[in-house]
């Protein structure tokens, strides 16, 4: 807890949860997807679905996908900016199962890839990413976070944590998940310190690590 959680953040109004939180969900989704987005299907659930226009939740989510942070004044024009950049955006009102009332599901598309990310705005401007494709995850983006897809076999988690340890990176929290034994494992790793590109490419170059994404706090 910081004094700046109470007096802050600096943000575009009107709502910490429905605007600033929504920008963060979009921003994290863009960072996780990494490819150039050409199309996004945005599904709004619960309170997000009921009051999205008045709170600018639509513009906030798209602003985040464009890489804007919660204090960026371009959020107001995010829908136009996305159109200018040739990004096709469609909104859908959806019922998602077992999620917080302020939740959005983002289906993102690039030329040759697609990904589904679900995020919730859980109070103030605090958010949580809860699902990436079929992987259940749980992180806020408030700490330096790594998302690693790796071969699901004995010792693999040990290899990842040893590499991080060798760079003096301390793990604050870690969640591992897999859909089927022996296939692909997903690890969310929150760290006390920022991670540099060298560490990321070290991980990325390991034979049994399929993908590494790094989310830096802002």
């Amino acid at each position: 807890m910081s004094v700046f959680n109470v007096l802050g953040p600096i943000m575009i109004g009107p709502s910490s949860s429905h605007t600033a939180g929504a920008v963060k969900v979009g921003y994290l989704a863009k960072t996780i997807f990494k490819d150039k987005i050409i199309k996004a299907d945005i599904h709004l659930h619960g309170s997000f679905a009921r009051t999205f226009k008045g709170h600018g939740t639509d513009r906030a989510l798209v602003g985040g996908l464009l890489g804007f942070k919660p204090d960026d004044e371009r959020i107001k024009d995010a829908l136009n900016i996305a159109a200018e950049r040739g990004i096709e955006i469609d909104f859908h009102l959806s019922e998602l199962k077992n999620v917080h009332p302020n939740t959005a599901k983002l289906d993102l598309y690039s030329e040759n890839k697609e990904m589904t990310i679900i995020g919730s705005s859980v109070g103030g401007s605090q958010i949580k990413i809860i699902k990436i494709n079929d992987y259940e995850v749980d992180f806020t983006g408030e700490m330096p976070t790594l998302w690693v897809l790796h071969k699901d076999e004995p010792g693999e988690i040990g290899i990842i944590t040893s590499i991080l340890g060798s760079y003096k990176l301390n793990i604050a929290r870690m969640i591992v998940f897999r859909n089927r034994k022996g296939e692909v494992g997903s690890a969310i790793i929150e760290l006390d310190h920022k991670v540099n590109d060298y560490v990321i490419s070290h991980l990325d170059n390991m034979e049994d690590i399929y993908q590494v994404r790094y989310i830096e706090p802002f």
């Binding site: 109004g13 009921r50 009051t51 226009k53 513009r59």
Partner: protein, 288 residues
């Protein structure tokens, strides 16, 4: 020093003969391991945005997308019929200005939330203007405001969805009152009294926004909560103490919040939101 109670802040400040802001800054340095200068700069950035939002809010063309709010600050500033003195007029004007900007998707500093963002800047900056107080001292007072709010966040809640508007505008008013007392040279005990007095008298305030928007009653409520804070400052500075200590008021707020019906906690299922006019507005804005 880790503080979980307002009492901790008051006692330590009185024992060490320092201001509460000093303790809050020290604690932030300890928690973040950042240089003092960086932390002060960050708060100074908040102050800059607060000033800009006041200026922007006094732009006469401001109108929210729904059309429900806009222009209130200008009307109050330009009123020839205002009674209650220049300071009060300035406080209400600035609070309306910032909350108006917030409703129009402008840039604000959430404090403690976006919906309550007008109260702290309105009170502190109006006092600073009237008494020519330099920015450095206002920045310190902002740390006091933040520190007081942090205790509420730890012990209770700052979310309308969990505690009703008492947790947003109520706490904003209490933070502003406490910080203003420090800015005016009051003692740490008086800071606590101002905080407790302001919060005590907004206990039970519900969150019942029309059509789910942060506009009605939120924009004008910032003006009320800021003038309410000014009353608390005047009482505390006159050595009128709060019989119930600040930490117990926070506990009471949480209890009241828990007892409050969910329909009155940011769901727009009761109160002003479900009045005849409230429902009509919601219906009219349905496809908006």
């Amino acid at each position: 020093m880790e503080y979980n109670k307002i009492e901790h802040l008051i006692n330590k400040a009185e024992n060490d003969n320092v201001k509460i802001s000093e303790l809050v800054i020290d604690a932030e340095i300890e928690k973040t391991e950042l240089e003092r200068e960086l932390i002060i700069n960050k708060m100074s950035e908040n102050l800059k945005v607060m000033k800009e939002s006041i200026k922007e809010g006094l732009n006469s063309n401001l109108k929210s997308a729904s059309g429900l709010t806009g222009g209130e600050a200008v009307k109050l500033r330009d009123s020839n019929n205002f009674i209650g003195g220049e300071l009060l007029q300035n406080v209400i004007t600035k609070a309306l200005a910032v909350s108006g900007v917030n409703a129009c998707m402008g840039k604000v500093v959430a404090g403690p939330t976006a919906g309550a963002s007008g109260i702290v800047p309105a009170l502190l900056l109006s006092i600073a203007e009237k008494y020519n107080i330099e920015d450095g001292k206002v920045i310190n007072a902002l740390f006091t405001a933040g520190g007081l709010g942090e205790v509420v966040a730890k012990k209770a809640t700052l979310a309308g969805a969990a505690g009703g508007c008492q947790a947003e505008c109520g706490v904003g008013s209490a933070m502003a009152a406490g910080a203003a007392v420090e800015l005016l040279g009051g003692t740490p005990k008086q800071v606590g009294d101002a905080f407790a007095l302001a919060l005590k008298n907004l206990l039970g305030l519900v969150c019942d926004p029309v059509a789910g928007l942060v506009e009605v009653p939120c924009v004008k409520r910032n003006g009320f909560a800021a003038s309410h804070a000014l009353t608390a400052v005047n009482m505390a500075m006159s050595n009128i103490a709060s019989v119930i200590p600040p930490d117990e008021v926070i506990e009471a707020m949480m209890e009241v919040g828990d007892l409050m019906s969910v329909s009155l906690k940011e769901t727009s299922e009761g109160g002003l939101a479900t009045t005849e006019t409230g429902k009509k507005i919601a219906e009219d804005l349905k496809d908006f």
